[in-house]
């Protein structure tokens, strides 16, 4: 057992090998979040469609994806599907697993946010002659977005860390590369501290983006908060 090595720590902290792993983590997160958001929107729309069988299919999907561990889903896609003749690249498997799983969670967030916009707003939009689609796009969704942004943001924060599960199917993201380096010199603590720092930098940077987004979509609502604060004083 060696004692803590600062030189190894700094060597790993700026290692291109790990940096590239972190980059993989970032784009895995971004791509699966975007795919998940699109698919989640479709699932949410299906669940609120008012079409019986479609709602049931969407419900089943959400139930299935949220009721089983992501790790199991990844393994099924990576090693299970080839057994029945369906084979994808590792990257495709990782993205597919992450996006399909994320979509189930995001669809619930989207649905909740859309339903949080009251019937009064819908009536006002309808009474003006807007079509259902226009009312959704111009009145409901902008307000729902404000409601769901904090939750979407937290979900992306979670996803940044969840991508590490894809190391189990040999996706070379940050955790996998950390483990590969550990095999070389067994500097476990140094490497995991470095990996943690990478994750912290990524999640903190995302928090900044998230704050900016929430501010951007909060227009028209901030004044209310400010007035309420003023009243309390």
């Amino acid at each position: 057992m060696t004692v803590w090595s600062w030189s190894a720590f700094f060597e790993y902290l700026f290692s291109p090998f790990l940096l590239y792993g972190a980059w993989t983590t970032i784009w895995l997160t971004v791509v699966s979040a975007l795919l998940g958001l699109m698919l989640g929107g479709v699932v949410a729309a299906a669940r609120m469609s008012g079409i019986g069988w479609l709602e049931k299919v969407a419900f089943f999907y959400v139930w299935l994806m949220r009721g089983t561990p992501l790790l199991v889903q990844l393994v099924i896609i990576y090693t299970g599907l080839p057994q029945i003749g369906i084979k994808f690249e590792v990257v495709t498997c990782a993205l597919l697993g992450l996006a399909l799983n994320e979509a189930a969670y995001l669809s619930e967030i989207i649905r909740g946010a859309v339903q949080s916009v009251g019937i009064g707003q819908r009536n006002a939009a309808t009474a003006l002659g807007l079509t259902k689609f226009q009312a959704m796009r111009d009145v409901i969704l902008p307000q729902a977005t404000r409601v769901m942004l904090p939750m979407l943001g937290n979900s992306v924060n979670g996803l940044l860390k969840t991508t590490s599960l894809t190391s189990a199917i040999s996706m070379e993201e940050l955790l996998r590369r950390t483990n590969l380096l550990i095999q070389e010199r067994f500097l476990t603590l140094e490497l995991f501290v470095v990996a943690s720092i990478y994750y912290l930098v990524m999640t903190s940077a995302w928090s900044l983006v998230q704050n900016w987004l929430e501010h951007r979509f909060g227009r028209g609502f901030e004044e209310e908060a400010r007035l309420e604060n003023a009243e309390q004083r």
């Binding site: 009536n123 003006l128 002659g129 028209g220 007035l227």
Partner: protein, 252 residues
């Protein structure tokens, strides 16, 4: 094609129920061009339901409603088109909080009537000026008082150049000192010849500009009359009791 002497709204024996509960029964009335019809009645009597049936926000089971020549209950009818010709103002204002005051008044003009941004803005500013809120155009609704928000809501409805304006208790959610500013706008609208249906308990408004008063109770239109006769010679015992309660709530 609707003729100018045809009523703007005609409702014949309209009925509606939720399960076994009858919200509306046998409701018949007409609103002619430039008339101001006031609907009043106790809470739960079906006033909101009736007024929402007029632009198809609520469906109904029996009878017939024709608005501006269009049969509202007809499944073939394109309701969005009709709705753009019927303005509606709600008790809780229902301005769109993510849009500025001007944006609220412009949205449907652009989306539904296909007006250009410049056209819609010009019309919005003209109407905001008319309700005395031009200097607030760029603000968001939450920055305005209730009375101001309701006046924006009226401007939003007017921007569609409606044939008729529907009001569902437009002053009930307002602090007393703001009721006047909203009623003023409504009175001016009535005097300018707008056809209006107003659910309201502001009897001063009814007396001043009302063409007729409909009194509702338990889903029925119990009494109909010109304001003077409705207030002076109230026929039904139920309406007498109602008027006594709202005019002299403490029995004095």
């Amino acid at each position: 094609m609707p003729n100018s002497v045809d009523p703007v709204i005609s409702a014949e024996k309209v009925g509606k129920h939720y399960g076994h509960f009858r919200v509306l029964q046998d409701c018949s009335f007409e609103v002619k061009n430039s008339e101001v019809v006031v609907i009043c009645g106790p809470s739960g009597s079906g006033k909101s339901t009736l007024i929402k049936c007029l632009n198809g926000l609520e469906g109904f089971d029996e009878g017939r409603i024709v608005v501006d020549g269009v049969s509202v209950g007809d499944p073939q009818v394109n309701l969005t088109k009709l709705r753009s010709r019927v303005g509606m103002v709600f008790q809780q204002f229902e301005l769109f909080p993510h849009l500025t005051v001007e944006g609220n008044v412009m949205l449907a003009q652009r989306r539904v009537l296909g007006r250009s941004t410049a056209e819609a803005r010009e019309r919005a500013r003209m109407l905001l000026d008319r309700v005395g809120l031009l200097e607030h155009s760029a603000k968001y609704p939450k920055m305005l008082s209730g009375g101001q928000q309701q006046r924006v809501a009226i401007a939003r409805g007017l921007a569609m150049d409606p044939k008729v304006m529907l009001f569902d208790e437009p002053t009930s959610a307002l602090d007393p000192e703001m009721i006047g500013e909203v009623l003023d706008v409504m009175v001016n609208l009535a005097k300018a010849g707008m056809t209006m249906v107003c659910v309201t308990h502001e009897m001063g408004f009814a007396r001043h500009v009302g063409s007729k008063v409909l009194f509702m109770d338990q889903g029925r239109i119990v009494e109909t009359g010109a304001p003077e006769s409705f207030f002076k010679n109230t026929q039904s015992e139920r309406a007498q009791r109602f008027l006594k309660n709202i005019l002299h709530p403490m029995g004095i």
